[in-house]
Amino acid sequence: GRQQNAASSPTNAPPGAPSGQQPFRVALIMSGSTTDHGWNQGAYEALKAVAKKLGLSDSQIAFKEQATSADSQLESLRAFASQGYNVVIGHGEEYEQPALRIAPEFPKTLFVISSGSQVATNVTPIVFKLEDGAYLEGMLAAGMSRSGIIGAVGADPIGPVKSVFSAYALGAKAINPKINVLQPLFTNDWDDVGKAKQATLSLIGRGADVIIQDLDNAAQGVFNAVEQSNRPGHPVYALGTNSDQNGNAPDVILASAPINLYPAFLNIIQAAKEGTFKPNATPYGLKSGVIGFVYNPKLEPKIPPALKQKIDAAKQKIIDGTLVIPKAG
């Protein structure tokens, strides 16, 4: 059995606040690679931008990517915290339990968990309302689908992915109650482009003509399958998630629902730097600008104005708070 070491000395300063001599430092831990054109790259770039804005030098920010294994996730949190980083961001829900576990040992460190949900003395979640963007994408998908069948491909059915896919289905139903949203396919591999492509082709084979994906690195396989199946008279479209992927396959991606982490990161890091941050579970959605929805300019003209109006209206309602999209589960 293991005795957790209690906090060495209770502190009054808010977590993450810079202490006297040490410079203020921020670390970001990701399970994937910083070049995935998706979830991880977005965080990587956001932190760089925040650093620039706050005047943090290169030595004041640190990254750990591809912390895929359970032990490296836990280890990275511990390593950065023990080196005195003021803010340690675990970019993904998978960091939440480990962070909650070790947080008491590092009371001066603020742990930020992307996609998390629980609040503790020095652990704060960034609650993403990924559903906001996915809902609008679902509406777009249903509106653009000619076959009345749409699909989704993911790597693993993890929480955020399930939320995205369920909001996508809800949005689609809002436009076309009879739309057939095929059960999402999972490839179990965030890197295997070929598998993503095959899964997509099999959805298209069953009649789906709009596909959403949540695959990071392997997303290119989905786009490639859609590009390959897209032909005049029988258009097939894809949707981008987590970052603005419109440029990755400009002929077939209708829109993307990017996560713009910059405002969220800036909020938290700035407050922490100033010593004023209190952990909270503020949701970040369309309203905060963290979740976005961008049409692909190249395909935008093809979208019927009526559909666009409906989507815009829904967007407004979400921002107003009159429409709340539930999380999956």
């Binding site: 890197d191 070929g194 492509k197 084979g205």
Partner: protein, 314 residues
């Protein structure tokens, strides 16, 4: 596109790289060399093919460079295996690590650090279905078959894998023959790697080979060191692989729950968080099938007698 064609195309996409790789490895193993470093060759050639296509714009040249990359790796492997007589399995394992490192690093330094994405031109599709490489795999099977069984050099090659001493007595250079086989092995794995990045997709992603090199090794064994056997085994593998998505898609899950209900297992399965069929078990299917083939076939056939054994003259 119907479900049948979906399965078919999925099968072909998965089969093609496996077939090329296993054909090359069949030749190498027939000559007595086992190359466990195929995974690394796939990755390295996928990268160079993509890189070349990115800069030159012509995916055919990309495939050519992918092939050359495979050959370069094979020659390096040959230096260790045939000149130094190092253990072939270890050398192969380390080559995989090496390729993983070198491609990941180069990708990072050439692209990621400059915020460029490696999206390239792609081999054109024939009739909106497959690229040239897929139908070309069939003549490749025939070619290897013809080479191994109908040419003098194929005969010599097989002799080197079975009984190098006899080959030597017949005036054949065992080392040279094995080197040629390795070069072919590398070239074929190179094509397969290029297939992954410039035919089956239009990008390179670190670690995109995702274990195909290891599966190709198993296919060589399951296919009984015979090109036709490789064709059958890789088709089977490709098919189970493609089927897994169709099964997911076709509501296998519903069937699963239906059966569970018949046996009054629904509550139990719910308690076990098994409301849905764990799709990972589908993913394991091809490997299980391969194991079964290995289990069933290996009594009647044998590996080339001198497989993996360095041959030292006197």
């Amino acid at each position: 596109m119907s479900i049948v064609t979906g399965v078919l195309l999925g099968t072909l996409a998965e089969t093609t790289p496996l077939l090329y790789t296993s054909l090359g490895e069949t030749v190498a193993q027939r000559a007595g060399v086992i190359n466990v470093g195929l995974e690394g060759i796939l990755l390295a050639s996928a990268f160079t093919a993509s890189l070349t296509t990115y800069h030159i714009g012509n995916p055919y040249i990309g495939v050519g460079i992918g092939m050359l990359t495979g050959v370069a790796f094979a020659l390096l492997f040959g230096f260790f295996a045939l000149v130094l007589h190092a253990d072939q399995v270890v050398t192969g394992v380390v080559f995989n690590l090496f390729a993983l490192g070198i491609t990941g690093t180069l990708y990072r330094f050439l692209f990621a650090l400059h915020d460029k994405s490696l999206i390239t031109a792609q081999l054109p599709l024939l009739h909106h279905t497959v690229t040239l490489l897929t139908p070309l795999a069939l003549p490749a099977v025939a070619l290897v078959w013809w080479w191994l069984y109908s040419t003098r050099s194929g005969l010599e090659l097989r002799a080197c894998g079975e009984q190098p001493l006899a080959a030597d007595a017949a005036g054949i250079s065992v080392r040279r023959t094995r080197a040629i086989a390795l070069i072919f092995d590398g070239a074929m794995a190179g094509i397969a790697g290029a297939f992954l990045s410039v035919a089956d997709s239009n990008t390179f992603v670190p670690n995109m080979s995702a274990g195909k090199g290891f599966i190709a090794l198993a296919i060589v064994t399951a296919g009984r060191w015979n090109p036709i056997g490789c064709l059958v085994a890789s088709l089977l593998f490709g098919f189970t692989n493609a089927l897994q998505f169709q099964a997911q898609a076709l509501g296998f899950d519903g069937l699963y729950r239906h059966i569970a209900a018949i046996f009054h297992l629904t509550t139990l399965l719910h308690r076990l968080n098994l409301d849905h069929f764990p799709y990972q078990l589908f993913l394991a299917l091809p490997y299980l099938v391969t194991m079964l083939i290995l289990f069933g076939s290996s009594r009647s056939t044998r590996a080339p007698a001198a497989l993996g054994r360095p041959y030292r003259k006197e």
